[in-house]
Symmetry: C2
């Protein structure tokens, strides 16, 4: 195969899109900074155990593995940055106060998440540690939404759920790992008939509850409906109350999807997903994951979210190409000085190298630097 | 071993340094954009053959390898971005005109380049394709220096060399790969006695030339000295003339090191290295590498440079921590509105979550948002 063929689901990002991604990256990081989130940069690769113990074994197959020539140990490429940030909070910063951290960098998956997904998403996210109250969940949700708004996205809605609901319903029941996985799968795919079939292996009260849960999605009225259906489970009622509080503080369309279990397995409380009409998978996911630091020996209350900037960029119109100034090449000191000054003012100045004067430039040059009665002057170009 | 222990020569970047790295990243990319260099983002991993055929087999041991679950083929993590950008120029853009490209992203090495080096540098670089003249070499050199200046570096000097000099001296001699490698090694380490010993296996005229070459470093007068010494090699004289032209166009201290062969093996013409007094290894390297796209079937004139932003950040004083505004948490609409407005103006506003009011904040809060006669007002804090 030719040397320039890339692996499937791996691609170069070419100039117009790359510049837009870079802009979105800056907007997202600056939005997080505005909320007081400090930037961290965890490494791309770690010991496999560190990466996997944190996110649970279903992620094992998603992780590229390599051998460390220095130690002979197995290294993995990160598939998610959240566990790494939890490690930083637990061991490197080791603060007792509320800590807000954000990050933006590539993650790598052995298998694409969907038929058109890249295996190298650019993950942006933020995490808040040290506060158990819903104020932290709300701040994370608001930051996620503000990041999307700042990026220029308009038409999106928020799905709310809570990881404790299924957990509460299953409490006291001993299920085989296979049965557990089948239940999770039926919920994730909203598969009522599969759930009905699984019910034959379960107590009838649990079957009834799970069959209700799998259909618990829609507008905010679902919460009232769930409150009646799950009145026997105080923990579920508590989770519903928190969902309602969060929903009342969001200024965007909210829907409820109590069976939503997609994304990473570490959620332990309220969860949210942001959807746009164009896509079936969530654009951003977040919520509470108080257990995420446990493997690093210092469990702290934690909430956070993440999104893939490469997905985000595909949902937005490309910005206008940046206009540039065309300049001749020359050794004249006044020319060099003028060009340097224009560049320091933020202009792009492209020098036409000798012999290339008649080439069509790839940059959109709408102005030209010319010498007019001995003075270097920027003149507008006739462009169509 | 504990789950939070990172592999050797792999590290987290914590907030104060991470923010500085992000600032330098932006400054470097914006400087390149000012010169008309378009951003591209090649992938972190490719088929091993694509990565290695381009940079030559000595880099094989430097490349982490993985198995692609989709194809069963071997994938490698990039150790250098230049060959990828050459591939993009050759196959994706496929322009005939002068093309200017830049990039900034991680590269990964199996072994650290030096006892204190990271195995995950953050490589920033730029490449110009399609122009054979020295104007392209000069533009690349000037962009490299301007990037360092913009980053805040002051005290550096430029070493000039040319890959064609050794090539011209060796032309017509058939040497074993071992002998070739030993000569390269002696030159790279300026090892006169090793070169004298190797000379016993070489014709005396070549020995004399190589012994001269290994000592050809110092100020610009080295060029005149080399011109006398190598007067029998027209190609060397041509290279010296080009070095002299480049040196005359650089406004920073220039020294000459004709035996400099460090860095990647793809150089084919004038080369430069930028040094600071603090470090023995070059901070930035660049030059002409017209052959770099050959493996992708479309050889174009090419010049470029790269540097590691993680090394650069270590040479600069950390910027002052960004000051922030402390705000109470509350559901008051006017409070939320005021905070949103301050953030949209570029301020960092940290909300004190309920119960954490007395915590020492990690952000440097020099102002506070308070309600004064019903109006939310920013007040200066007494900070020491």
């Amino acid at each position: 195969m030719a040397a320039w063929v890339l692996p499937d689901h791996i691609a170069d990002v070419l100039p117009s899109e790359a510049r837009h991604i870079e802009e979105l990256r800056r907007l997202c990081l600056d939005t997080a900074r505005g909320y007081g989130y400090e930037l961290v940069m965890p490494p791309l690769l770690e010991h496999t155990e560190s990466l996997l113990s944190a996110v649970g074994s279903p992620q094992d197959l998603q992780t590229f593995k390599m051998v460390d020539q220095l130690s002979g140990r197995s290294l993995g490429l990160r598939i998610d940055t959240t566990p790494q940030v939890a490690r930083i909070d637990a061991h490197l910063l080791n603060r007792n106060a509320v800590t807000r951290l954000c990050y933006c960098g590539p993650v790598v998956h052995t298998l694409p998440a969907s038929p058109y997904a890249t295996r190298e998403p650019l993950q942006f996210g933020a995490e808040i540690y040290g506060h158990t109250g819903l104020e932290a969940d709300l701040e994370i949700l608001q930051l996620a939404l503000q990041s999307l708004l700042t990026a220029g996205l308009k038409d999106f809605h928020v799905d709310l759920s809570d990881a404790r609901i299924l957990h509460a319903l299953l409490q006291g029941h001993t299920l085989s790992p296979e049965l557990s996985a089948a239940i999770t799968d039926a919920l994730a795919h909203k598969n009522v008939s599969a759930m009905r079939e699984l019910g034959q292996q379960l107590p009838s009260s649990l079957t009834k509850a799970l069959l209700a849960l799998v259909q618990m999605y829609g507008d905010i009225s679902v919460v009232a409906h769930a409150r009646q259906e799950f009145s026997a489970w105080p923990k579920v009622l508590h989770a519903l109350e928190q969902i309602e509080w969060l929903a009342s503080h969001v200024k965007h369309p909210v829907s409820i999807d109590l069976a939503d279990l997609r994304g990473f397995a570490y959620y332990s409380g309220p969860r949210f997903s942001v959807f746009v009409p164009e896509t079936s998978d969530a654009l951003a996911r977040g919520g509470r994951y108080d257990e995420v630091g446990a493997v690093f020996g210092r469990k702290r209350p934690a909430a956070g979210f993440s999104l893939d900037i490469k997905v985000l960029v595909g949902l937005l119109p490309h910005p206008q190409p940046q206009a540039a100034i065309r300049a001749p090449w020359g050794e004249d000191e006044t020319l060099s000085h003028t060009i340097a000054q224009l560049r320091s003012q933020g202009h792009t100045v492209v020098c036409l190298l000798p012999g290339h004067e008649s080439e069509v430039d790839e940059f959109h040059c709408d102005r030209e630097l010319i010498q007019d009665r001995g003075v270097w002057t920027v003149r507008l170009l006739n462009t169509n």
